[in-house]
Symmetry: C3
């Protein structure tokens, strides 16, 4: 059984093969602190090493997803003087660390699901952008609010481009436009919008049920192939995928899946909604 | 006149400058067999060599587009032992062949139209993903169902990413989510959804009429330029396109098109709905 | 204060920090002439050199955005003989110049807004495709009409792919399909569609108000980062962005923005709708 790490800023709970992760700094609307990013990164390390966990559900405490970066931390960080020896500014190193974290979170072998209520601003919108499935409440509010604060969504906007394309991102990033869950679904930021909390929980439950029918190893390989399309030429993606296809087909999951299909029964890995 | 090949798994008919191709293995819901892919590949060779055919309409027999790969063939193929000499697994070579086929089908100089009724699962969804125009019935059902069978949509998912983007594909490929024609249109998989069969035929007729007003050579060059954007840097795309523009403008189609416009008459190439 | 150039084909007016640019060849539905492209290019040079202007609003005179290239100019240009010395055809050089112009217009440090009424055909659709925010009237009409004229949207289609993706562009470019403002919004060509002129002006006013709350330098840096995602690998985009983030945070805008936020007051750069 997977042993879960102790966290200060997250509440982490395993139910069946689903890990529920709750951002838990409600006094700041779950703003991203250094500690929170460190704890999420430690979770990534754990998830990369296990196949027992098949889905990860990310939400925020007290009905609020994540208000983004913590402005008081930005203020504090200004007290760090720029380097005088020509080295790289420690604030740039720290900023890039968040981009590296999003790259790593995006690539975990599990299906990553965001359930968004309340706000998802700045870095919170970044988190949504790297998930495999995003569900939201129609009343949720989203914004790339950085330039209104005189700064730039440096480590976030590139992931928003990957998520919703350049066209929608230009509008959001250069106007700070606030939008709701329905608009989020229209531009493709989230996959499903629910009109109330009950519908939202039902959509989550339905998604977990669907994932419970998918072979975990096949899902992990498929996610790897999908991410390859971001960086590799099509022909190379397809060559790699052909080799992965055969390993999967000849392996235990492929043999079980084909047999279950022909015998018209659920495959052995099938899991109901936890 | 173009001479059409004899096919076992396809029904092929020419009407005016439009080639109607029907996947015709109704007993398997038009699942893709090796023979069918071979026959479709032979059609690609024919289409690459002619400009008399301007549009290709792809549908499935008996109101069903295509159920995807044939699971019983997957089962059979498992009897092929893996190579013992360190060579590439013949199952990987065969898998990659499907990706190569989709690349080739995607690039034919004609306008490729899919008309989707019934189901488009797995490889069937792959076929839809490489068309220039896709029309579907609102009740059509789509899914990337592979990971539910323990395998991976290796040669299909990359084309779905190209079609609807990474965000929508992650959701579809990692949950096996079944969706209908309206959702297909919402995520951009198809261009038009029709509420009944009559409206579907009307949409096809309208599309063929529009294509009948476009100069065939200009369309072939434009399609080539569009596909270039997938693999070439923008500046190179534009340089190549500038040369293509001039060949087209100075050529017979350009001279006729400009003259017809100024004389307010249909251009010589104009064709009505076949 | 910025001194505005004299223009024959454009009406140019500054209000607050917003530059209003009107294409003004109403007798041709504001078709793009060589002179108009030269004058727009001169405006780009001016805009690249100033930060006093924060937004540029592009529209067409007499309620008509832009009918595209001028066909009578295409006809005239055919009288230029092809080069006999093996050099590049001057018509190709001229064609590519339009693509270079769109690349340059796309990259101006200001927020570029299109307000589309009437028609946006061919090159007019190209102009819309490179804006940061596009608003349109529901009755506006759009088309990539080139192949109906026997030519190819060589310098336009690649920007439409960047704007709405390959899937939607294939349909538009290979059928010449005419569509209205609602369809333009559905495929993501424009961000907002308004049902009447009053709503359109209100949407513009709202957009300018949002931009007025964004720090101009932060917006310019953010736009630069967004455009980088089109040509650079993600890791390089993020590294560059981290350095830009720190310059912005340590600079005047970052210090003012963080202070204003914590003091719950508008930042010094805030501008109301001009």
């Amino acid at each position: 059984m997977t042993s879960l790490p102790d966290c200060e800023t997250l509440v982490v709970a395993l139910s069946g093969s689903t890990l529920f992760v709750t951002l838990n700094r409600p006094e700041t609307k779950n703003a991203l602190s250094d500690q929170m990013v460190r704890e999420l990164t430690a979770l990534c390390a754990l998830l990369e090493g296990t196949r027992d966990i098949r889905a990860v559900v990310l939400r925020g405490s007290e009905g609020c997803f994540c208000a983004g970066g913590d402005i008081s931390i930005f203020k504090e960080s200004l007290s760090t003087p720029p380097p005088t020896d020509g080295g790289r500014d420690p604030l740039a190193i720290k900023n890039k660390r968040f981009g590296n974290f999003l790259i790593r979170l995006q690539a975990i072998p599990q299906v990553l699901i965001a359930v968004v209520e309340g706000v998802a601003f700045g870095g919170g919108l970044g988190l949504v952008s790297v998930t495999d499935v995003a569900l939201c409440h129609a009343d949720a509010r989203f914004a790339l609010s950085e330039t209104g604060l005189g700064i730039t969504p440096a480590q976030i906007a590139p992931f928003v481009v990957q998520r919703v394309g350049l066209t929608a991102t230009r509008h959001l990033a250069l106007t700070g436009h606030r939008f709701d869950g329905r608009h989020a679904e229209k531009i493709g930021l989230v996959h499903t919008v629910a009109s109330d909390r009950e519908a939202l929980e039902k959509a989550l439950s339905q998604t977990l049920k669907e994932i419970g029918r998918c072979a975990p190893g096949a899902n992990a390989e498929t996610k790897r192939i999908l991410m390859n399309t971001m960086t590799m030429a099509l022909d190379n993606v397809l060559d790699d995928a052909a080799d992965a296809f055969v390993v999967q087909l000849r392996g235990a999951e492929g043999q079980e899946g084909v047999a279950a299909f022909l015998e018209k029964r659920p495959a052995a890995w099938t899991e109901q909604d936890p």
